[in-house]
């Protein structure tokens, strides 16, 4: 390469003359860095330095900075380097760089001390309390809006409710049916496979029936709804918040809770029990099919055993939980949506938080209901 950079140093007593040549640009960064490091010992000995730039073909910020760095290295000893023979625009650039990197860049501070950790713990606890208060506020706002609707039923947004039921109920049906069908089939298959060892295959029907109706049906459906519809609510409300649509609603004298949140939450409360019911039926159907083809139990026997094994109580225990789970999902999804700040990252973060939180709360709620039903003997 003709333009390969070089740095010729010639010492004369304690005066040092440097002659950079070639192109001092970022393309040759590695060579340039070596060159400027190689003259460090001579630079340390020198009293005065002259940089003769007449041989430089090209100069960019990197090259100019390296020359400035040489000059600054020396300035530590009291004197600046003389720069001679440079073209005018190079002088401008070097002058420009004389101003920069004067202060040390504050690096990211390490946070390691015990006090810092305690502070983080405290902040996390505070955030948890804040979460609880946000949840309760949203619950309160929804209750208030519901009371308002009972007073003036005409103020309720029926069109919005129907549309939301269509979205979270009707459109969710295929996937809910498919998943619950498979879950029922898998439970039945596992039951038959293991119960067969001690000849208790017939009890598979009890297991599938009770498990699906009491626990799994509603739990699986609630988790799916949290992932599918809860996240959609958060993303929708979050993007409306980002684009100031929610502020626009408020300035028109409308309450966003009335207009946006109540219809959505009510739609979930209506749709989730229906989905849970359909899901339970699909799971039983899946279990029945597996019992027939894999376990050799005819559908007639399956239905007869199912009739003996389960009572309407099991079904009630399952379905009573559904609206409460729907309420929790709705509140979490909507309040997380409203917590979205201006940026797109915050929208993504809030949506993830919404799904994680609502699934967690749904499972906690399911546990509480299990304790409750056990103690009242249902």
């Amino acid at each position: 390469m003709i333009n390969a950079p070089l740095l010729i140093a010639s010492a004369n007593g304690d005066a040092l003359e440097l002659r950079p040549t070639g192109s001092w640009t970022v393309v040759n960064a590695a060579t340039l860095e070596q060159l400027s490091a190689s003259i460090a010992p001579q630079l340390a000995r020198a009293r005065s330095v002259t940089v003769n730039m007449s041989g430089v073909r090209e100069l960019d910020t990197l090259g100019a900075w390296l020359i400035e760095r040489i000059s600054r290295h020396l300035a530590g000893g009291g004197q600046r380097a003389h720069i001679v023979g440079a073209a005018d625009d190079y002088i401008d650039l070097i002058e420009e760089l004389r101003q920069v990197n004067r202060r040390r860049n504050p690096g990211p501070t390490e946070r390691k001390s015990i006090a810092d950790r305690l502070e983080m713990l405290g902040r996390a606890a505070l955030a948890a309390i804040l979460d609880l208060s946000v949840f309760l506020q949203m619950l309160g706002a929804i209750c208030l809006a519901a009371v308002g609707v009972f007073r003036r039923p005409r103020s309720f947004r029926l069109t919005s409710l129907v549309y939301q039921i269509y979205r979270v109920g009707w459109q969710a049906l295929p996937i809910v049916v498919l998943i619950t069908f498979l879950i029922g089939a898998i439970i039945a298959q596992q039951g038959i496979f293991h119960f067969r060892k001690f000849g208790a295959e017939a009890y598979v029907v009890d297991m599938v029936g009770i498990l699906v109706l009491r626990e799994l049906g509603v739990l699986i459906v609630a988790i799916m709804v949290a992932g599918r519809s809860g996240s959609a609510y958060t993303a929708e409300l979050g993007s409306m918040k980002m684009r100031e649509e929610i502020d626009a609603l408020s300035t028109m004298g409308l309450d966003p809770v009335d207009v946006l949140i109540l219809p959505r939450v009510v739609a979930l409360i209506i749709a989730l029990p229906i989905l849970a019911f359909v899901g339970a039926v699909a799971a039983l159907y899946g279990g029945g099919l597996v019992a027939w083809f894999y376990g050799g139990m005819s559908p007639v026997t399956f239905i007869a055993r199912l009739h003996e094994a389960i009572s309407v109580t099991h079904f009630e225990v399952g379905i009573i939980k559904a609206p409460f789970m729907a309420l929790v999902i709705g509140i979490v999804a909507c309040s997380e949506g409203l917590r979205v700040k201006g940026s797109a990252e915050s929208l993504g973060k809030q949506t993830t938080t919404s799904v994680v939180k609502s699934i967690f709360l749904v499972i906690v709620l399911d546990g509480l209901f299990a304790v409750f039903f056990a103690s009242i003997g249902m």
Partner: protein, 259 residues
């Protein structure tokens, strides 16, 4: 409009760009001279950004020739466009800073990917760029979400300049800034253009920046460059759209200087 090759930074000839049947750029030719600041004006949705994005290879063209600093840009985005990318820096309208990196890391990113140099030197260079665009070293540790609009544009400009490109493309650099910040930004572009010897291709609606920083202004209408030249020449143009643009109510401030 033809000029000798050594003085031309961007050469566009007979360019056609369209989406489906809708032709946005219709047999357009344009030369950007080395070391000038060229402003491009045009109606909203009239293809200014499309032209810029086609030149930098983000949009495929139907036909025509594009040369940047003497090397031909391929018809489809590929290796040749990537090689050419080292010759330009782009300032996107919203800054397009990587949100997971700090301001300093954003400026370091092109250096880290395209040049071999030590971490220490890289930080010094990136920091130098940040200071050259008028930011304090403390701003380097901030994330894009913590920066104001003007600061975002400055960091984005620093990143566009990280590799000392010969050409910078600016897409509405002053939009969304208050007149003071916009004025500062104009001055900054002019200063950097002088010290670094840049060629600047600027898409803008800001009449003040057109008037103060641009050496030449090109007007894009009906998919073609209808007028190109210094501001005074554009003000005399007889083309109806150019006339409406520069002689409308909002352009009155240009008149006393022009006449």
């Amino acid at each position: 409009m033809q000029e000798t090759d050594t003085h031309v930074a961007i050469h566009v000839e007979d360019l056609v760009v369209g989406f489906g049947r809708h032709i946005v750029i219709d047999h357009l030719s344009l030369d950007v001279r080395r070391g000038e600041i060229l402003g491009l004006v045009g109606a909203s949705g009239g293809g200014k950004s499309v032209l810029m994005r086609t030149v930098i290879g983000l949009i495929e063209r139907q036909s025509g020739k594009i040369e940047v600093m003497g090397s031909d840009i391929g018809l489809t985005p590929g290796r040749r466009t990537r090689d050419a990318a080292a010759k330009w820096g782009v300032l996107f309208q919203q800054g397009a800073l990587f949100s997971s990196l700090t301001a300093l890391q954003n400026v370091e990113f092109p250096l880290r990917e395209n040049a071999t140099l030590s971490d220490e030197l890289m930080t010094e260079i990136a920091n130098a760029k940040l200071e050259m665009v008028g930011l304090a070293p403390e701003d380097g540790v901030k994330f894009p979400s913590e920066l104001s609009g003007g600061m975002t544009k400055r960091v984005a400009l620093a990143r566009a300049l990280a590799l000392d490109p010969a050409i910078v493309f600016l897409d509405e650099p002053t939009s969304g800034l208050d007149p003071i910040a916009a004025g500062d930004f104009d001055t900054l572009i002019k200063t950097l253009q002088k010290t670094l010897g840049l060629t600047v291709f600027m898409v803008t609606h800001d009449l003040a920046s057109l008037n103060t920083v641009c050496d030449r202004v090109a007007a894009l209408a009906d998919g073609k460059i209808v007028t190109i030249g210094p501001m005074s020449e554009l003000l005399r143009s007889e083309h109806p759209w150019v006339k409406a643009y520069f002689h409308g109510k909002r352009s009155l401030m240009l008149q006393p200087k022009a006449i």
